[in-house]
Symmetry: none
Subunit: 358 residues, 2 copies
């Protein structure tokens, strides 16, 4: 009798999310800087010249409603406001039980009191066209340990990210792992800067030496968020805690990396407690293909998109989302799914997002 | 970037309340009678001749939605309904996880089943103009013990009060402790009955003997709620449980008393887990100054007021709040802050309060 489907199932069983209706969630925001973002034209996820601060500003705004390390909220040169607005709107209307920050190599720590900021003593990674220089085995193991030992007093975890230029490192990672994924990765641009992106990824892959093992390869072309969270997924799978990866093709790359590592180690992943939740803008993006990326996994996965857009809004900055200028980030898709399975409706969320913009 | 701020920060960090978004709360209502209320013209917090029943009626209404020891809800002679309506409205729309009662010397027990009523075997205190006659050391120690050992299955505690004539005893207490606080204490009246109040406080202070120690002085001029809760604050600070003092200048007096006792004992209070939440009517009251009272503390404190009033209501009885005829009580300010950080909006709360009045 539901007239509108709030959630679209991309893959797997509808029941995973149905089971989570009414349950409490901890929202874990993982933040990392890759100097890949400094390559001209590679990303529009933030304020030109200050894009390295986007993870810091996103986490401040999500937790406190304020940006503290700068005067204004991160927005793209075209005026697209950060998807953190969507996640914050959901949190105001139907709060997560906990909000916690994971510092996986930020260029600047967020200015927050009381909120838990997990510090893993990880530095920002280098630009992948010159070699990311990540100790991938170490960071992966940190992720596994954290995923195994992490305790929260909520029913499930929503794991999100903010990593500018992260779709480029995600694409390079998947290619380095041997997945046939050309044209399947998303971008924060409407018209993806294919030349810059493809050239950067090509340069990155050229840094890989034939004798490199899986972790050495990844350490050259990936970013801290992807590697740590692949470990987190594996560590968490040994617990009974349900985990939602809140993101688009970057979170798909986390799963592809986890998949490759499991195969490399000759293990097997019980994926029954894992799902991926993203936005409609990613799900319906014709320039990328998240479903196809997820179908490359050797395990089955539940994946959903929130049936939410700004059709009913009149705000020009928000309309840019519907036009494809921004699609996902700061767990917007996962937050929307969480809100929609807990009684919020599209209109309320739109109104709250509009209120931020004045 | 939020167009309307739901919460105003009086002092300290915005992040304390932001951190509590989505977390569960136990609402502890501490109730006490001081015979000070029998002094003609001292208070309008209730029905003339039956004001000693106000704590009983407030607790019955808050827990059950009914007044049982009387036919009608407590209202002032001018028809201002008790702030218990506001707290009850929030509890209906976004229930506290627990509601519990602390009997700190009520003249009559509330007629309630199932609800936990903590009984400390404390009698109502005497009128302060003739000496309150409180064993302050004993009651303080009971508060410390209870604060240390109290366990609840929620994330934080909201501690509220209903004590008619309580601003007078709070004022006398702060003066007896040596705080320069003339003109800084609130009243349930719009035009505070300064003569009666000042004379009562003067008489009270005259009962103090030079040789009296801190506890003996307080025992003459204070009330059970202030003394017990000063102990509760100190006892609770040895746990990691966050505590919101829900009230105006009376709760400020609880903190001033805790501050004096800590100094008297040569200790130090970790106040990082404590906040005070009150109403806009107290925060913006020109006849009192809660901010200045809190600034007299030797420790830092987070303090907030709920950005809520009855401007959008057409009910004449509620308009009296906006005119200053009632300002706080039964944890109204703390309840409003709790509701507003958990997705309620002003309109919903107003509609619910209006529904009680018919």
């Amino acid at each position: 009798m539901e007239t509108k489907t709030h959630i679209n199932t991309i893959l797997g069983s509808k029941d995973y999310l149905e089971f989570l209706r009414g349950k409490s969630a901890t929202f874990l925001l993982s933040l990392s800087t890759t100097k890949t973002l400094e390559i001209p034209g590679i990303t529009q996820a933030g304020i030109p010249g200050l894009i390295h601060l986007t993870p810091t500003l996103d986490s401040e705004f999500l937790c406190s409603g304020e940006v503290r390390c700068l005067e204004n909220l991160a927005e793209t040169p075209k005026g697209v406001p950060t998807p953190a607005l969507i996640t914050r709107a959901v949190h105001l209307l139907k709060p997560f039980r906990n909000l916690e920050i994971m510092d996986l190599g930020m260029s600047q720590k967020p200015n927050l009191e009381y909120f838990k900021v997990h510090d893993f003593q990880i530095n920002p990674s280098q630009a992948i066209n010159r070699g990311a220089g990540i100790d991938a085995m170490k960071i992966f193991q940190q992720g596994v340990e954290f995923g195994k030992s992490y305790e929260c007093d909520s029913d499930y975890i929503i794991l999100a990210e903010s990593v500018p230029a992260g779709t480029t490192t995600a694409y390079a990672t998947a290619l380095a792992l041997g997945y046939d994924c050309a044209g399947k990765f998303s971008s924060s641009f409407k018209n993806s800067p294919d030349d810059v992106k493809e050239q950067t990824v090509k340069d990155a892959l050229n840094n890989i030496k034939t004798k490199d093992d899986l972790f050495e390869r990844i350490g050259e072309v990936s970013d801290n968020m992807l590697i740590f969270n692949a470990g987190f997924v594996l560590g968490n799978s040994s617990t009974s805690k349900k985990l939602i990866l809140a993101g688009g093709t970057q979170m798909a790359a986390v799963l592809l990396l986890a998949n490759s590592i499991v195969n490399y180690m000759g293990g097997k992943l019980d994926s029954s407690n894992i799902a991926l939740c993203t936005t409609k803008w990613v799900h319906e993006d014709t320039d990328s293909d998240i479903k196809s990326l997820l179908e490359m996994l050797d395990f089955s996965i539940n994946a959903y998109s929130a049936n939410f857009d700004f059709t009913k809004s009149n705000h020009p900055a928000l309309k840019l989302y519907d036009e494809g200028e921004a699609k996902e980030g700061v767990g917007a898709g996962g937050a929307l799914c969480y809100g929609l399975i807990n009684g919020l409706n599209e209109e309320d969320i739109i109104k709250q997002v509009e209120a931020f913009l004045g």
